[in-house]
């Protein structure tokens, strides 16, 4: 709308792992489909691209259809999703999506997930070979086949995986941490020790919902899902604060960010970048709005 196009794009020059960004606001993986948005909104979308870098949804080796619906449940001040990481698989991503994502006006970060170190190594090596991919994010919210625990919930299995994966790329390697763990700072420290260039948090909080009707059946096709949105912001802020105090590598903070003031809080807590997820569903241009509000706040306090 008028206001968005007339006012200049937000400018808060930021460097993250060697990438020069216009401002510190990016998207949370899996919460924005830039290719679909281009079809829906046309050129106005590219002209007003809402993020300073674009993070792809999670890519796996094999094609995934994702979970059966229903996949969404609205909660007090938030939502649960059980999308199930649908994606075209590595080959499909590289062939169909990468050329379009490479044409976006901002740097591309590709998020990958594998259930074994071998899978992750293959994914990371493949991304390393792509110039258009400027950084790689590992989604470690995936059950370790041995322990059953998420790889990212357990410092030991995360360290083990990273020892194998880290050598596969010279690109910035970001570890996307899970909040569903006893001490996320411990996990972040393990990631740093094993050569991660940055950590991103929080992913969604494990949650569930029952179908209306009263027989206790789960509503979600995936039975459980992940909670996001303002409801989790105070938990996310605590985890980002703890992690930023523990590690020296840059932190991407996210979880319920809706306004510039929230972004500022995560930055004050020690984050270098912030990511916006759920708020983009309510306001597709939220990234730009939040960056603008942040710029105004910084101007005031400066």
């Amino acid at each position: 709308m008028a206001t968005t196009t007339d006012t200049p794009p937000p400018s808060i020059p930021t460097t993250f792992c060697g990438l020069d960004l216009a401002h510190p606001v990016v998207n949370g993986s899996g919460t924005f489909d830039a290719i679909a948005a281009q079809a829906v909104f046309g050129d106005s979308f590219l002209d007003q691209f809402p993020f300073a870098a674009f993070v792809s949804k999670t890519i796996t080796l094999a094609v995934r259809d994702g979970n059966p619906p229903p996949r969404l449940w609205e909660t007090p001040s938030g939502m649960i999703n059980s999308i199930g990481l649908p994606n075209k698989g590595l080959a499909g991503y590289l062939e169909h999506d990468l050329p379009k994502l490479a044409a976006l006006p901002v740097p591309l970060i590709t998020n990958v997930m594998g259930s074994t170190a071998a899978e992750l190594c293959e994914l990371v090596a493949a991304c390393d070979a792509q110039d258009a991919i400027r950084a790689i994010e590992l989604n470690v919210s995936c059950p370790n086949v041995k322990t059953g625990l998420d790889i990212g919930a357990d410092p030991v299995s995360l360290a083990e995986v990273l020892r194998a994966v880290r050598p596969q790329t010279t690109k910035p390697l970001i570890v996307k941490l899970t909040p569903n763990t006893a001490d996320v700072a411990l996990v972040a420290a393990a990631a740093e020790a094993e050569g991660a260039d940055a950590v991103a948090l929080v992913n969604t909080l494990r949650a569930t919902a029952q179908a209306p009707g009263g027989d206790g059946r789960p509503w979600l096709g995936g039975v459980t899902g992940g909670m996001s949105g303002p409801a989790i912001r105070a938990v996310a802020l605590a985890q980002v604060t703890a992690v930023a105090q523990r590690v020296a590598i840059p932190v991407i903070g996210m979880g319920g960010i809706q306004r510039g003031e929230h972004a500022a809080q995560f930055l004050r807590a020690g984050a270098t970048l912030v990511a916006v997820g759920t708020e983009s569903f309510r306001d597709p241009a939220a990234g730009t709005r939040i960056a603008r509000e942040l710029q105004r706040l910084l101007a005031q306090t400066a």
Binding site: A39, V40, G42, Q48, P69, P76, N81
Partner: protein, 267 residues
């Protein structure tokens, strides 16, 4: 497909009135293009959005355009939960967030003289896109067959203004006592050389899908699905495809060919 301006924008409620069980909203949307029949918008109040049952609504809600031109949009909704409850209480002059037009609408071949006669069959909150489509067809000199099914008189009231529409009610209080699909079968028995455009509750759509597939009558179904974003971002609104995999109702639909589905899911 009409392309939407990027982002949500502030529109203003020009008028709201209750017709039977439904609320009709007229919205002034200066910055938006005209929608096509079958396209929808994500709507939310700019204030008081989130203090209903269980602190909801949180996300915007999807509503089909019942019409739209020259910066005015029309919607019809039923108050069935916190989101529709809040929207039904918008005051004249009150601002609201709109994103859209979104999705792929009905396809009416160009030149707009379809080889097959259009039958527009639906019911409940599925009638707005059909009303929009029928107006578009009439403007193009085509007289479609309109068939609406409702629960009762209260719900059927919305159709009173249309003299040509065939009505069915579950309780027989208005028109045919029974299902609108019985009216559809009657029409197709008379003359199967038709294209069906349908929108309504899942059960009705599934029945229409079956009827049309059996008779090899082309049908376009406007689906509903729980949505978070409406523009392809969340992958939450999917329906399973006959060919396997899923389609996002918001960007691949909401209008899908009956043949693309092997069933219309309950939600």
């Amino acid at each position: 497909m009409t392309v939407a301006p990027f982002g949500r924008r502030r529109a203003v409620l020009a008028a709201i009135r209750k017709v039977g069980s439904y609320h009709l909203l007229e919205v002034v949307d200066r910055h938006g293009p005209d929608p096509e029949p079958g396209q929808f918008y994500m709507l939310a109040a700019t204030s008081g959005w989130g203090a209903g049952e269980d602190e909801r609504p949180f996300l915007p809600r999807a509503f089909s355009a019942m019409g739209g031109r020259d910066g005015r949009l029309w919607f019809m909704l039923e108050d069935i939960g916190p989101g529709t409850h809040r929207l039904a209480r918008l005051q004249k002059g009150e601002p609201l967030w709109v994103t859209g037009p979104l999705g792929h609408g009905f396809r009416i071949g160009t030149p707009p003289t379809p080889a097959r006669r259009p039958i527009l069959t639906g019911g409940g909150v599925g009638v707005p896109p059909l009303i929009f489509l029928s107006q578009a067809l009439v403007e193009q000199g085509i007289a479609p067959t309109l068939q609406f099914g409702f629960r009762d008189t209260q719900h059927a009231a919305i159709a009173a203004s249309f003299d040509t529409v065939q009505i069915a009610t579950d309780d027989g209080s208005v028109g045919h006592h029974g299902l609108v699909t019985e009216l559809l079968i009657r029409e197709l028995d008379d003359d199967p050389h038709a294209t069906v455009y349908a929108c309504g509750p899942p059960g009705m759509l599934e029945a229409i899908r079956r009827i049309c597939v059996e008779r090899e009558v082309p049908a376009q179904l406007a689906l509903e699905s729980g949505m978070a974003c409406g523009f392809g971002a969340c992958f939450g609104c999917v329906v399973p495809l006959a060919a396997g995999g899923y389609a996002r109702v918001c960007v691949d639909g909401p209008v899908l060919d009956a043949t693309a589905l092997d069933h219309v899911p309950a939600h």
